[in-house]
């Protein structure tokens, strides 16, 4: 097993009101899936929700002092490591390749003057579909203050985790969806019982990858994101040989326990990977609110 060193310098948008530019500078080594977001992403927040929870009173001692060596099982290291998972999925995820965080082996954090806090982590990552694992090193920088950051990635070869050959399956899927007489639609992946029809699984995987772009963007030291469900999939006409999709996804944010709705417009093809065109947060659910004329 090769040790892989990635340096993930992560920008997190805090207190967003406008439409920030998210710049992801692709690495020179693009031999793997160059999943990407275009240079300018329009992030329209219709409902200006802040998802940072309000903690009345002190944050845990741990958090104030989360510097130096970290307990790998405690939340500071775990939250930072989850961000690594999101990053990996945006870069290398596909309908047949998904990454999960299996465990954090060790972690270290330090304040970087004028920048933020930097986490160095040793993690074990799992490729979920092929069920392989790999030990990796990563760095995560959560920026502080007013500056907008940008995600910069330097990666050494990822061969071990990418060695499962997914090319044939991806190509087959791509052709099938490209040639379909009618455009695919789907809802509720998984359904209430956790079930996904086998031929819908690749669509769920795609949702996982696409939502990782949002989760990567939204993550801070105070959040832990997972995708809860793909609520709706609408395939749009293929454009420039890219399959195009409109997804409505539900994210679960652990600290606030909220379910957050996002709309994602993205394209996919085996050579190009997932490219997000638009992401938009949707308003808090309507039925949570009382109908008018109550009381």
């Amino acid at each position: 097993m090769m040790s892989v060193r990635i340096i993930v310098v992560l920008a997190v948008l805090t207190g967003v009101t406008g439409s920030p530019n998210v710049m992801i500078k692709p690495e020179a080594d693009m031999s793997a899936h160059p999943n990407s977001v275009p240079e300018t992403v329009e992030e329209t927040e219709i409902f200006g929700q802040q998802n940072v929870p309000v903690l009345v009173g002190e944050e845990a001692e741990e958090d104030v002092m989360a510097t130096g060596e970290l307990n790998p099982n405690h939340y500071p290291a775990q939250r930072a490591a989850k961000v690594v998972q999101h990053y990996l999925n945006t870069r290398y995820g596909s309908p047949y390749r998904l990454f999960g965080l299996q465990r954090v082996n060790s972690g270290n954090a330090e304040d970087v003057a004028d920048s933020g806090r930097k986490y160095q982590l040793e993690v074990t990552v799992q490729e979920i579909i092929g069920n392989t694992t790999e030990k990796c090193s990563a760095e995560v920088l959560f920026p502080r203050g007013e500056r907008q950051g940008s995600a910069q990635v330097q990666a050494s070869s990822w061969e071990e985790l990418l060695k499962n050959d997914t090319e044939a399956q991806e190509e087959a899927l791509y052709q099938e969806y490209k040639m379909n007489q009618s455009l695919v639609t789907a809802q509720n992946l998984p359904d209430s019982y956790g079930h996904i029809e086998p031929d819908m699984k690749p669509l769920w995987h795609l949702g996982f990858v696409a939502s990782s772009f949002v989760m990567l963007n939204e993550s801070t030291e105070n959040t832990l994101y997972n995708m809860a469900q793909v609520a709706n999939v609408t395939q749009l006409p293929t454009e420039n040989d890219q399959l195009k999709f409109d997804y409505h996804i539900l994210l679960h944010e652990m600290v606030s326990q909220e379910i957050i709705h996002w709309k994602l417009l993205f394209t996919w093809s085996p050579p190009e990977g997932v490219k997000v065109l638009q992401m938009e947060q949707l308003p808090h659910c309507h039925h949570c609110e009382k109908p008018p004329n109550t009381n």
Partner: protein, 336 residues
């Protein structure tokens, strides 16, 4: 079918069936009402000795969307009833203690989460907000009288961690508070079952509070996590909420510990986020098996701590005498 998710009417029918099938050890106790006026019920399981007995508390489904939890409570009941017939340890425990198991505490919320796909991820109960706030529901696990409203909560009634208008404002929390509170010296152990995250959380949720028996809680918890790992290899992290997950206040676990119940744990069952609340039904069996192993460890420890003493010594004596007899017999047989 213990490996499928069941709507509330099926769970209620099952409870009635359990009491019918095992009238000597199982009875239904109605101990409260939900906001929408549904009855909150538990199964009291244990041999009727006619005396006041020590007890174990388990509740599931305090959060509506955590469907694996009620499934586990049902599985747990089935397991102890089966083990009681064949396993002498369980037989002993059934004589000495009563198990109080609430398969669904937040009945209104659970029913609501079954309405349709858009309600599946509901968490709170269904009490209406105040007149000034436009949303339903209070987070029952922030509503108990344990450092209520101090940390890890929101005062906005639309929030999923809204702690309510005051401590124990919610009828569901009141039901537990009254029932367990009025019997608190009897309870050896208080287990509240949730998902997801694969964690065993010990009191307290406030970072500045340490439980007096923190070491014991951690030791027993770590041993329970070991028991869990042995079943299907899944890792459950053990620790306080503020260390492992996030600070919180008003949880049922914290309240139970403050009542003096020594072993109070929050179980966060599978998974680690891949499916989250919508855990596939084919994972119900392994999840229940491993969680049962963990819960049983804690319960056995609690039981043995209360009932050990003479029993253990006597058992040890019998074993050593028996061993002596066997080894002497073997010696005679082998050498001659």
């Amino acid at each position: 079918d213990y490996y499928k998710y069941h709507p509330m009417p099926e769970i209620s029918n099952w409870m009635v069936q359990m009491a019918k099938d095992h009238p000597d050890v199982v009875s239904i106790v109605e101990y409260g009402q939900t906001y929408e006026k549904r009855v909150i019920k538990l199964l009291k399981i244990g041999v009727n000795t006619g005396e006041k007995k020590k007890a174990i508390w388990m509740d599931c489904g305090i959060h509506a969307r955590e469907w694996i939890a009620p499934a586990f409570c049902q599985y747990f009941v089935r397991q102890i009833l089966e083990a009681y017939k064949t396993d002498s340890k369980m037989g002993e425990m059934m004589k000495n203690i009563d198990f109080y198991v609430t398969p669904v505490l937040n009945v209104d919320g659970y029913i609501y989460s079954w309405t349709n796909e858009t309600t599946r991820l509901w968490r709170k109960n269904r009490s209406p907000g105040t007149s000034s706030c436009n949303c339903y529901g209070t987070d029952l696990n922030r509503n108990f009288n344990a450092n209520w409203g101090t940390i890890g909560v929101e005062s906005d009634c639309c929030s999923n961690i809204y702690c309510g208008t005051q401590a124990v404002s919610e009828p569901e929390a009141q039901a537990v508070t009254y029932f367990v509170g009025s019997r608190r010296e009897d309870f050896l152990c208080f287990l509240t079952i949730h998902s997801y995250g694969q964690l065993l959380l010990v009191p307290y949720g406030h970072p500045n509070s340490t439980a007096p028996n923190y070491k014991e809680l951690m030791d027993v918890g770590l041993a329970a996590a070991d028991a869990i790992r042995k079943v299907h290899g899944k890792s459950y992290t053990v620790g306080t909420s503020p260390a492992v997950l996030y600070p919180n206040s008003g949880s049922s676990r914290d309240w139970a510990r403050m009542q003096g119940i020594p072993l109070a744990y929050t179980f966060e069952l599978r998974d680690d986020g891949t499916f989250g609340f919508e855990l596939p039904e084919d994972q119900i069996k392994p999840t229940c098996e491993e969680a049962y192993s963990g819960a049983l460890h804690i319960i056995t420890y609690a039981h043995d701590k209360a009932f050990n003493g003479a029993v253990a010594t006597a058992t040890a004596l019998v074993f050593s005498l028996g061993f002596k007899l066997v080894s002497e017999t073997a010696f005679i047989l082998i050498c001659c």
